[in-house]
């Protein structure tokens, strides 16, 4: 069970720098030839890591091995690019239980120089 006190809380992330080689590698998988900006789904690389850190912390208590990705949404205000220093804040926005599974929606707000660049939402299912 997810600690109910964690729902609604925002967890500030550490700053990470995006490198050109990370964007190049992501673009190469997708077949994108323009590597001047990150593909629309690139922010998952940062946000899912942050969500994992938050959800598996002792105060939240999720077993990551039981997690399945249910759905995903991105809102891109400003595409990420190499050299951006990103802070990803994660808010456990929604929670429900269904058929013994727990569904938690983590909203990740990615800031570059304190300006919101990308928001994404991951609904993660903790299998019973």
């Amino acid at each position: 069970m997810i600690n109910p006190d964690a729902i609604g809380r925002t967890f500030k992330g550490a700053e990470v720098s995006i490198t050109q080689s990370e964007i190049d590698a992501f673009c190469a998988v997708l077949g994108e030839t323009d590597t001047s900006i990150a593909p629309p789904t690139f922010s998952i690389r940062i946000s899912l890591d942050q969500s994992q850190n938050v959800l598996t912390s002792p105060e939240v208590g999720v077993n990551w091995d039981r997690i399945v990705h249910g759905d995903q949404k991105f809102e891109i205000h400003q595409p990420l690019k190499a050299g951006d220093v990103v802070r990803c804040d994660s808010t456990l926005e929604g929670y429900k239980q269904m058929a013994g599974n727990e569904f938690v929606t983590a909203r990740s707000d990615l800031y570059v120089n304190e300006k919101l660049a990308v928001t994404n939402w991951s609904t993660l299912v903790v299998r019973a």
């Binding site: 990370e22 992501f26 997708l30 994108e32 593909p39 629309p40 690389r45 399945v68 891109i76």
Partner: protein, 135 residues
């Protein structure tokens, strides 16, 4: 060019094999063994190794980006992971993508309703991208 609601866009087929899963694992940092190790995947009740949902979503996003004229044209993008893309060893499985123009907004942005199947099975639900087409 005028975009009409209901217009069907051309089909495109991406191919996914184990090498691409490894490449995506390294590019994304998601090294979950269900995407690389067949014995492990089967031990947790999966039929075989499955593709990362976000790889599938990334490739379908590439379809939307290419139609719109570049990665930067995709403003919103969402999908549900309904069924896994199953990737047996030594095979290249298809990810077949089509789309329909679902809505044209007053500011000119377009909503693409995306459809993605693999081996005939629909793998994403409610896949939608809002794009600003580069003319």
């Amino acid at each position: 060019m005028n975009h009409e609601v209901g217009t069907a866009l051309p089909e495109r087929v991406f191919y996914i094999d184990r090498a691409l899963l490894k490449q995506y694992a390294d590019a994304s940092g998601d090294q979950n063994p269900i995407h690389q190790n067949e014995d492990f995947a089967k031990s947790v009740g999966l039929p075989n190794v499955i593709a990362h949902g976000m790889l599938t979503m990334g490739l379908v996003g590439q379809y939307a980006a290419d139609w719109a004229g570049g990665s930067g044209q995709v403003k919103e993008y969402s999908a549900r992971f309904t069924k896994p893309v199953i990737v047996p060893a030594g095979e290249k499985v298809d990810l077949t993508v089509t789309a329909t123009i679902g809505e044209v907004f007053p500011d000119g942005k377009v909503r693409l309703d995306l459809n993605a199947t693999s081996a005939g099975v629909k793998v994403l639900g409610m896949a939608r991208a809002i794009v600003e087409k580069n003319h």
